[in-house]
C-alpha cells in the first residue's frame, strides 16, 4: 500500500500555529506606519482609561469657581480649566474611559446581534429574505436619526446611547457577516463536513465563523471609530451623557458658549475625538490589508 511515497520535507514548526498566525498579522500591520501611529494612540487611550484615577490629579466633576476658565498651563492645570473650574486634563482622561467603554460595549452588542442575524440568514436560505428585509428596514433610517429615535423612546442616558449605537451597528454587521457566510458556505470543505455528518450548528460555529473572522475584525475596529464619534455627537446634542459627566461630546457642547473667551474648552476634547477616531480608522484600514489572504501567501 502506497509504499513508494516520496514524503515531503518534514516542515513541523515548534511554535503553536495560532500564535504564529496572529504574530504574522501583527508584523504585517507594523509595516504600515499610519496603523502603527493608530495603535499607539489607541494604546495610549486604553492606558489613560485604565489608570485615570492615578493619572488625573484633580476630580473631574468637582467645581472650583474661583479658578474658572483658566488657560492651558495656568496654575498647575496642564490643560486649563472649564467654566466651572474643573480640570480639563482630568475630564479628558475620564472622558477617554467613557468613550472607550461606550465604544466597546456598543460594538460588542452590535456585533453579537449582527453575527446572529448574519450567520442565520447566510446559512439558511429560507430565512434569508425575511431577515434581510428587516435589515433593509433598519438601513432605511439615517444612522443618527435612528439613534435619536431610540433615545427619544428610551430617554436620554449613556446606557441608552450604547443601546442605540449597537442597534444601529446591527444591519451593517449582519450584511458583512452574511456576505462572508455566503462565500464560505460554497467552499467544498463545508460540503465535506456535511458528508462527514456534522450538524448545522457545528458547521456554522466551527467551520464558517472562523473563516469569516477577518472582515468581522476589520468591521469591529472601524465601527469603534463610528461608535465613539456618534457617542460624542449624541452627547453634544444633549441626548447622551448628561452633565457633569466628563464625556468628550458633552464637553464640546459646554465649551461652545465660551468659544471666544476659552477656546481650549472646545478645541481640546475636539482634538481628542479626532485623534481617537482617526486612530481606529487607520488601524481598521491596516488590518484590512494585513488580513488579506492574498498577502498571506507571499510570507
Amino acid at each position: 500500500m502506497a509504499s513508494g511515497v516520496i514524503s515531503p520535507a518534514n516542515t513541523s514548526v515548534k511554535q503553536p500555529k495560532k500564535e504564529r498566525m496572529l504574530f504574522q498579522t501583527f508584523k504585517r500591520l507594523c509595516k504600515n506606519k499610519l496603523a502603527v501611529f493608530g495603535m499607539i494612540v489607541i494604546a495610549f487611550q486604553i492606558l489613560l482609561a485604565i489608570f485615570a484615577p492615578w493619572i488625573a490629579q484633580y476630580d473631574p466633576v468637582v467645581q472650583n469657581l474661583s479658578k474658572a476658565q483658566l488657560g492651558p498651563g495656568a496654575e498647575g492645570h496642564f490643560l486649563g480649566t472649564d467654566n466651572y473650574g474643573r480640570d480639563m486634563f482630568a475630564r479628558l482622561v475620564y472622558g477617554a474611559r467613557i468613550s472607550l467603554i461606550v465604544g466597546i460595549t456598543s460594538v460588542t452588542l452590535g456585533l453579537l446581534g449582527g453575527l446572529f442575524l448574519g450567520l442565520i440568514s447566510g446559512y439558511y436560505r429560507k430565512l434569508d429574505g425575511v431577515i434581510m428585509r428587516f435589515v433593509d428596514l433598519l438601513f432605511a433610517f439615517p444612522g443618527i436619526l435612528l439613534a435619536m429615535l431610540i433615545i427619544a423612546m428610551l430617554g436620554t442616558s449613556l446606557v441608552n446611547v450604547v443601546i442605540a449605537i449597537s442597534i444601529w451597528s446591527i444591519p451593517t454587521c449582519a450584511r458583512i457577516v452574511r456576505g462572508s457566510v455566503l462565500s464560505v458556505k460554497k467552499q467544498e470543505y463545508v460540503v465535506a463536513m456535511k458528508s462527514l455528518g456534522a450538524s448545522d450548528l457545528r458547521i456554522i460555529m466551527k467551520h464558517i465563523l472562523p473563516n469569516c473572522t477577518a472582515p468581522i475584525i476589520v468591521f469591529a475596529t472601524m465601527r469603534m471609530a463610528t461608535a465613539i464619534l456618534s457617542t460624542a455627537a449624541l452627547s453634544f446634542l444633549g441626548l447622551g451623557a448628561q452633565p457633569p459627566t466628563p464625556e468628550w461630546g458633552a464637553m464640546i457642547a459646554a465649551g461652545q458658549d465660551f468659544m471666544w473667551t476659552a477656546p481650549h474648552m472646545t478645541v481640546i476634547p475636539g482634538i481628542a475625538i479626532m485623534l481617537v477616531v482617526f486612530a481606529f480608522n487607520v488601524v481598521g484600514d491596516g488590518l484590512r490589508d494585513a488580513l488579506d489572504p492574498n498577502m498571506e501567501l507571499d510570507t
Binding site: 502506497a2 511515497v5 518534514n10 436560505r125 467544498e188 470543505y189 462527514l196 455528518g197 456534522a198
Partner: protein, 332 residues
C-alpha cells in the same frame, strides 16, 4: 454477495428559473459489499448529482422527486435530516474532487481528522488523536504525528487527498463514494490514490462508488461500470464487458475518445456535438442527435434497457434485434 446499496428509478430534479429540470432521470443501480462501481459519463451528465442524492446532500433547490434509495435494507429517501446526518461519515462517506478546497484552511489536519470521530464515535480528544495517527498511517502518510499539527496549505495535493480519505474512513463506513477523487491530482499521485482506495476497500470490505470521466481510472479500479448520458443510464456491465464488448454507441464513443498506447493505429475520435441542455426535450433516445448509428426508430421511441447478459444491459435500439433473436431462441 450481499447488496449494500440499491437505487431504484431515481429522479432528481432542480427548481430553476426555467422551471423544474430533471438532472437524473430514472437511474437504477446497485452496489455490493467489497465491490467498486464506476459511474462514467461526460461532465454534466448527472453522475455527481446521483451520488449527492444518495448522500442526501443536494443543493437547496434540488430534490429527489421519485424513486428509492436503499442502504443495507433501509430506505434513505424517507429519512429525516437528523437520521441522515448520523449515517453520513459513519456508514456512508464521501471524498471530493478538490483536495485543495475540501479541507478547512483554518484548522490543523489533526483537528479535522478528530472531528468525525468525535461526532460519531464520541471519542475523547486523546483517543481521537490516537485514532487519527493510525488513520494517517493507514493512508500512507509519513510522519503522522507531526502532520497532525500542520495546516492544509502545508501539504501537497496528494497528501491532502490522503487526509480526505483518512477523514472519510475514520468511522469505518461500509460505503465510500468518491467523486472524481483523482481529477485534480497529477498522474503518478493518481495511481497511488487509486491503489490506496483499492487496498482499503479490500481491507475494510467497503463498497465503493467511484464517479469519474477518466476511462483509465475505470479500467484500473472498477468491478462494474455504469455509463450515464444526460441523466440516464445507457449501459451497465462488468468492466470486461464494457471494455471488450461495449454495446451502446455512447460507450463506444467514450472508449474511442481515449488515446490507446497499445494500439499505434488507434485514432482518437471525439463524439460530435455536446450534451443536451437539461431543459431540452428530446423525443426518442436522448443520444440520437449525436449517435452515428441513429435510425428512424431512435427519433420516435425511447429505447428500454435491453438485457445482454446477467450483468450487461444497454439502452439502445441496436440491441433490439439480437435481444429478440436470443429470446425466440430460448423460447422455442
Amino acid at each position: 454477495m450481499n447488496q449494500l446499496l440499491e437505487v431504484n428509478d431515481l429522479v432528481t430534479s432542480f427548481r430553476t428559473a426555467e422551471g423544474k429540470l430533471s438532472a437524473v432521470r430514472g437511474v437504477s443501480f446497485s452496489v455490493d459489499k467489497g465491490e467498486t462501481l464506476c459511474i462514467v459519463g461526460e461532465s454534466g451528465c448527472g453522475k455527481s448529482i446521483t451520488t449527492l442524492s444518495v448522500m442526501g446532500l443536494l443543493p437547496s433547490n434540488g430534490e429527489i422527486s421519485r424513486g428509492s434509495i436503499q442502504f443495507s435494507g433501509e430506505e434513505l429517501t424517507t429519512k429525516n435530516e437528523e437520521e441522515l446526518r448520523k449515517l453520513r461519515g459513519n456508514e456512508i462517506s464521501m471524498i471530493f474532487q478538490e483536495p485543495m478546497t475540501a479541507l478547512n484552511p483554518v484548522f490543523t489536519i489533526g483537528y479535522q481528522l478528530r472531528e468525525p470521530l468525535m461526532i460519531h464515535k464520541r471519542l475523547s480528544k486523546r483517543e481521537a488523536t490516537q485514532k487519527a495517527i493510525t488513520l494517517l498511517d493507514q493512508v500512507g502518510i509519513p510522519h503522522p504525528v507531526s502532520k497532525l499539527k500542520q495546516f492544509p496549505h502545508e501539504l501537497s495535493g496528494g497528501m491532502r487527498q490522503r487526509v480526505m480519505i483518512a477523514m472519510a474512513l475514520a468511522c469505518n463506513p461500509s460505503l465510500l463514494i468518491a467523486d472524481e477523487p483523482t481529477t485534480a491530482l497529477d498522474v503518478t499521485i493518481q495511481a497511488q490514490i487509486l491503489d490506496l482506495i483499492d487496498d482499503l476497500k479490500a481491507d475494510l470490505g467497503m463498497g465503493v462508488v467511484m464517479v469519474t470521466h477518466d476511462m483509465g481510472v475505470v479500467a484500473e479500479v472498477a468491478d462494474r461500470v455504469m455509463v450515464m448520458y444526460a441523466g440516464e443510464v445507457v449501459e451497465v456491465g462488468t468492466v470486461t464487458e464494457i471494455f471488450e464488448a461495449p454495446k451502446h454507441p455512447y460507450t463506444r464513443g467514450l472508449l474511442a475518445s481515449v488515446p490507446n498506447i497499445d494500439d499505434p493505429d488507434h485514432s482518437m475520435e471525439a463524439i460530435p456535438g455536446s450534451l443536451p441542455n437539461l431543459s431540452e426535450e428530446i423525443q426518442g433516445c436522448r443520444f440520437h442527435p449525436r449517435c452515428p448509428f441513429a435510425m428512424d426508430k431512435c427519433m420516435e421511441m425511447e429505447p428500454p434497457l435491453f438485457e445482454l447478459s446477467s450483468e450487461h444491459q444497454s439502452k439502445c435500439w441496436l440491441q433490439e434485434v439480437k435481444h429478440y433473436d436470443k429470446q425466440s431462441a430460448t423460447s422455442s
